[in-house]
């Protein structure tokens, strides 16, 4: 990576770049999580085998649809599938065989090589909320704008426990639909130096994403390395949208990573049972990943599972529920057996406000994602109201909890210092550990520490206004935005990116749907 970084820096006026880097404030970002604790293996071997056999049955007997996509159908036919109309039926074992060329882990490069992430194995990479058309701040809920988008990218850059800048952290509804991706990518590339996601809403926008990366990283570098991880949703049940597939094709051809992700509200888009839903998830991912490997064997992909349950009375999607956790655990096991990186979880909630409901639901999902072996966690912070809203306050509250996940994942130190027998001997019955040598030597890093929650004595807290978590979070949002400083970027690259966005925009008329 040192070589690559030098090569990139060399492209445009090293002197200016070096000057910019010297004056930049250094923002601390934790390395992605490498788990040193076991996963919870919820399902036993028999259950997993039943689900795997059933998924093969689904693919062979029921099949999947690739509507309005004759090229895809032709690819499937040549690969040995049975194609009738837009229905593709896969003989048992075919999808799994095709999936075998997908890598078990891959590196997504960031423009700052220190921010590179490994996706797969025992890693956990944390990325912010994706997709909300609304934002909520201390003044309430409103449509998101590009200014909001930039603020979220800045918050993500300033968040120590967030490894990834994400993608559509909110929908900038004040920018025409066909031009949004340009502004969004530009923000990720210039306001942060963490890795990011590409556009998937049109194959041409995926192509623009690749071209902008070629400016940022250098054409040769992009040809050789994965610099984007993008979100390809499956139209569950069992349907592969031709627009999404078009974006997948662009990315797979460019060796860029895709999350192949069933998007399921259980009971509506999948069977109402956990095992039935897992069967459908596996069948869908098998077909989607297999298709990616037909485009380019070896293209990096992630086994995705965005699954929630439904409130059977109101039809509303619900989050942080036990069924969603069970599906997360099971899907993780299926992904590991398939040898693929796994995406799920995040700070998901149905609540309208960053209140107790939001936190219970989010914590339930965050804990399940950590223990369920998730490798890439989208929506790790900022998600509110079933994903309709990106919340500034929830962003910093969740991002703080992500620090706890790091500490939990690090496991328990069992070396001599960790065993602490010196402390036990020094203090003895009835003593106090605060002043002992072992405590003095270890207290700084012994315990995870919040940056936003309140531990003050009651009287102090009361005198300071008896603020709840939402109010404290609001202060932290402001503090982070006030102290934000843009990471250095080679001015020649910055200029080239701006020119690309300007020219692209000028070549299009505005579209708002």
């Amino acid at each position: 990576m040192a070589e690559a970084a030098t090569r990139r820096r060399g492209r445009g006026g090293g002197g200016a770049a070096r000057r910019a880097e010297r004056t930049a404030v250094r923002i601390e970002t934790a390395r992605f999580i490498e788990r040193n604790i076991p996963n919870l293996e919820l399902l036993n071997e028999e259950a997993l085998q039943i689900i795997e056999a059933n998924a093969e049955t689904v693919l062979e007997e029921i099949g999947v649809n690739f509507p309005e996509n004759p090229e895809a159908l032709e690819r499937w036919r040549q690969a040995g599938a049975m194609v009738e109309g837009e229905r593709v039926r896969l003989p048992k074992g075919l999808a799994r065989k095709l999936c075998a060329t997908a890598p078990g882990r891959f590196t997504q490069h960031a423009r700052n090589p220190e921010r590179n992430v490994e996706i797969g194995g025992r890693s956990l990479v944390l990325a912010p909320v994706y997709g909300p058309p609304f934002v909520r701040d201390e003044h309430g809920r409103r449509y998101a704008t590009m200014e909001d988008f930039r603020k979220f990218v800045k918050l993500g850059y300033m968040s120590k426990w967030l490894h990834h800048s994400g993608g559509t952290v909110c929908e900038p509804t004040d920018v025409p639909v066909n031009k949004r991706h340009l502004d969004m990518l530009h923000a990720h590339m210039t306001l942060s130096d963490k890795p990011f996601m590409g556009s998937v809403t049109e194959p041409s926008r995926a192509q623009d994403s690749v071209e902008m990366c070629e400016i940022l990283f250098g054409k040769e570098f992009v040809a050789e390395n994965t610099v984007m991880t993008s979100l390809i949703n499956i139209n569950s049940p069992l349907t592969f949208d031709n627009v999404m597939m078009g974006a997948l094709e662009v990315y797979a051809r460019s060796n860029q990573a895709c999350i192949i992700s069933p998007f399921i509200v259980g009971g509506a888009m999948a069977p109402v049972s956990v095992a039935g839903t897992l069967t459908q998830v596996l069948a869908e991912v098998l077909a989607g990943v297999a298709y990616s490997q037909l485009i380019r064997p070896g293209a990096p992909v992630i086994f995705g599972a965005f699954v929630t349950s439904i409130d059977m009375n109101s039809g509303a999607p619900t989050f942080g529920t036990p069924e969603a956790s069970q599906i997360l655990y099971g899907a993780g096991q299926l992904a590991r057996r398939l040898g693929l990186p796994f995406r799920s979880g995040g700070g998901l909630c149905g609540s309208k406000l960053p209140d107790a409901q939001a936190a219970y639901e989010s914590a339930n999902t965050l804990n399940a994602a950590l223990l369920g072996g998730v490798n890439f966690m989208l929506h790790a912070c900022g998600w509110l109201e079933g994903g309709l809203v990106a919340s500034f306050e929830k962003f910093v509250l969740d991002a703080d909890q992500l620090g706890a996940l790091h500490k939990m994942a690090a496991g328990v130190a069992m070396d001599e210092n960790g065993q602490g027998m010196d402390a036990l001997r020094e203090v003895g019955p009835g003593g106090h550990y605060l002043g002992c040598a072992h405590t003095q030597a270890n207290f700084k890093d012994a315990f995870w520490r919040t940056e936003v929650l309140d531990y003050k004595p009651f009287e102090t807290w009361d005198e300071e206004g008896a603020r709840d978590s939402r109010a404290l979070a609001s202060l932290r949002v402001q503090k982070l935005l006030d102290t934000y400083q843009q990471p250095a970027l080679d001015p020649a690259i910055a200029e080239a990116l701006e020119a690309y966005v300007r020219q692209k925009k000028e070549s299009m008329s505005d579209a708002f749907i």
Copy 2:
């Protein structure tokens, strides 16, 4: 149990009792949880063996203190320990050998046999908050009264997912210290029919607790069965308070259950490291449980671990932290290897309000307790501000989440209906599951459903006042209290209990410290 119930009912005017039972409203209480999912085994075999060996070293080299308790010291001497002053040193293996007579599981009987709980094995019994001197409701924070206490007992009785009425759900500060236990036990015995805890603040109060149980259950029944589980805290580090030990002696002699529980703020009362703290926890529990078995071999006990971490800047205890979770998981493994029921966890938090902080912290602990194999969970609901405050709103919010634990613990149904292949075949690609036969047959029980959180459409929620979880919880508290109806109790027993409390109170002058 049918026989025992009949016997008890027979004691005082069966006709009146039967009449009372006929007119009573039936309150639904879930059966205690029997896990159908695996535990998370956080520590590996090597780590566990190191901790176990270190705990034996602590007991032999450092020892434990039994201050102002010559009888206890004499018991230890006779059992083979080395006693110097108040220090007791146990040769390696002695404590573990003595612990072997403690049962791996036991039944705690309730006056309503349907509410009996099994403690140990794969069970999880949920009990409310214990000990807060303050309460918080929608009007704020104030000292707790006996009226508050009664309200919490009523809420516990009305809470479907709570199996146990608990003990000191709050400290009734308007009742003299030496008489509180009488009113508290009377409330548990008459306002609820769930199992409860006895007093531990003086050996004489433990004796009163046994005598009141003899009135409620019958003397013979109490002699033969466990009808109380009481909380014996260890004065960590490594010190056994003679008052607590006196209460333990009363209960063990009566074959009543005790939780032997280190009470540790890590970094202050135990080493600042997870492994060091686990070593101390194990040493303390080994000594405490061994002592209980010296009083009466076979007396039921629970391996307790109330461990939290400390904010090294302010010295405040913190809750829901990753270190606390790691200790919980590790302690559970140690308890299972010792063959004892395990107590830990609960909805612990440091927050002053039932806000997002409270919920993150509580959910972190609740999830760890479920997956860490806890058998008896004290503080499962209502805990606020580091245990200083019992919160009405948090009580119902936490109690609601306990329902999610039940569903999670039930595991994944893998029978034909659970596999849902009929649904997948019926619906197919692009279809919708809401109307299919499998969904119609299963939707009622398919998903856990909250009784307090909000799933409404934004517009409805907004029109109804944009209420947060705290406001919704406040409404639920009122609804539960408004619909509360006292469970039936044989009038002769009720009268005898009242007479006992009255006579006991009359025999004492008031004490307020």
